[in-house]
């Protein structure tokens, strides 16, 4: 009998064969291990994303939700509260603001690339993407430099789950608590010394004349740091992995860096780091002959929808000329990724600089160690050799 266990290391390593079976044979599947339904077809996921009234985020959006987080962040509230929170944060993510950040980001990337000079082999994650993405986020949020690797380690740990117990382990909860304490320190500092930045404004923001709840401020800042570092870092690694594995695509980008944005879109489709998120049903739903009950949790397997041949022809081919419209790499609906523009810009700049210095590289290990996470997917270590 077919099983789909998102806690299984086999799914961490390669979820795509499981997804194919889900889409073709069990488009609405009850996973005993995850204790939720799994939607795997592009059209079903898109419909769910567009229907927050039925597919609610207010009970959490991570497959394994962190304690006490649901209801206090952008990703874990429904409209209208969500929309008001989003409006407060959105203005810090404007195109104009980002354009001003392009040169500083490029400077950070160049420093990090320069550190790799002379190496024949290095860990693409630990020696490069982890450092550069954490530093970019620190710069964006105005966090004190120096702590970035400690913060990054906790961000990566808090999104993981224990594959044996199928829940968060004490080390994951400890990382989450550490991150909340870190965020609380930043918030306190901003209240004492306000600046013209996102966190300062968020600390004193009001909705309908009322201050945000302390829990909302704390957990939203915690989540911004977590998502910024973990999601940006995870995707940056996946893009680099694709360019290692698909040398023709990489050579095209080296020859013509203007193609990098198209390749980023294809990687967001092909194997983005945000693989699965969840919703909770607000009413009974009948889908593909199954009745899903109000109160049931539903996994939206973005990574599967992105490989659905019903939406993308020849979906298992990595094709940088594809220009995939409607991919789920940034989710969709009211919760469409707030950081999409930042991510596109940062990844573009990172690879413009990296490929200019290191046009030829290949991965050393055939088998990679993947992060144990039910929501995100990226390798923990990616050793690369420079040719």
């Amino acid at each position: 009998m077919f099983r789909f266990d998102p806690y299984s290391p086999a799914v961490d390593e390669n979820p795509f064969p499981f997804y194919r079976t889900l889409r073709d044979e069990h488009p609405c599947f009850w996973s005993e291990e995850a204790r939720m339904w799994v939607l795997s077809r592009h059209a079903d996921i898109l419909a769910a994303l567009g229907n927050w009234q039925v597919y609610s985020s207010a009970s959490g959006n991570l497959m394994d939700e962190l304690p006490n987080r649901a209801g206090a962040t952008l990703g874990t509230t429904d409209p209208p509260r969500h929309d008001r929170l989003r409006a407060l944060v959105q203005h810090a993510f404007t195109k104009r603001g980002l354009e001003a950040l392009t040169d500083p980001i490029r400077g950070l990337v160049q420093e990090q690339v320069a550190e790799l000079a002379g190496r024949r082999e290095f860990d693409f994650v630990g020696d490069f993407t982890a450092k550069v993405t954490a530093r970019i986020l620190f710069r964006m949020l105005g966090l004190p430099p120096g702590d970035d690797q400690e913060v990054r380690e906790r961000a990566v740990l808090m999104v993981q789950s224990d594959p044996a117990t199928r829940q968060k382990g004490p080390q994951h909860i400890a990382a989450y608590e550490w991150m909340q304490a870190y965020a609380a320190g930043v918030i306190e500092e901003r209240r004492r010394n306000p600046r013209d930045d996102l966190i300062s404004q968020f600390c004193v923001a009001e909705i309908n004349g009322e201050r945000l709840l302390e829990r909302e401020v704390l957990l939203t800042v915690t989540t911004l740091i977590m998502a910024g570092i973990e999601s940006l870092g995870g995707f940056t690694v996946m893009f680099g992995l694709n360019l290692a594995d698909f040398a023709d695509a990489r050579r095209q980008l080296v020859a013509n860096p203007a193609l990098i944005p198209d390749a980023i879109e294809e990687s967001l489709r092909f194997n983005t780091s945000g693989q699965r998120f969840r919703r909770k049903l607000m009413q009974d739903v009948t889908l593909h002959g199954q009745t899903l009950k109000a109160g049931d949790f539903v996994c939206l397997a973005y990574g599967s929808g992105n490989r659905d041949e019903r939406a993308f022809p020849n979906p298992d081919a990595y094709d940088i000329a594809r220009k995939p419209r409607g991919h789920l790499g940034f989710g969709g609906g009211v919760h469409a990724c707030l950081g999409a523009m930042v991510a596109r810009l940062a990844v573009k700049v990172i690879y413009e600089e990296f490929l200019a210095k290191f046009p030829d590289y290949s991965r050393v290990d055939k088998k990679l160690e993947w992060m144990p996470s039910t929501t995100f997917r990226s390798p923990m270590v990616l050793r690369v050799a420079l040719d």
Partner: protein, 107 residues
Amino acid sequence: MAHVTCIEPGGREVVIEVASGWSLMQAARTQGVEGILAECGGACACATCHCYVDEAWLGQLPPPSAAEAQMLDNVADERLPGSRLSCQLRPGPEHDGLRVTFPARQI
């Protein structure tokens, strides 16, 4: 229902029908107009269904909400006086003949 002329980034003009209650973005995408991403599916949560409304029509459409106005800061192509998010426009019979142009870049 309204007929709306959509001008694609390549210059092709497509006349679409927008049924009552539909957004311009939904109708244009369903009828195969090129140049729209609509990453968030019409939730005013991205800026990838950007269009330029013909100046002659600007005053005849309801002005952007605060959320749309804020999101218009993020359009990828140039922001012009006629810039709107097509997911937020719901043309009615009084807008029959409306003309909008979709920009070359949405991301």
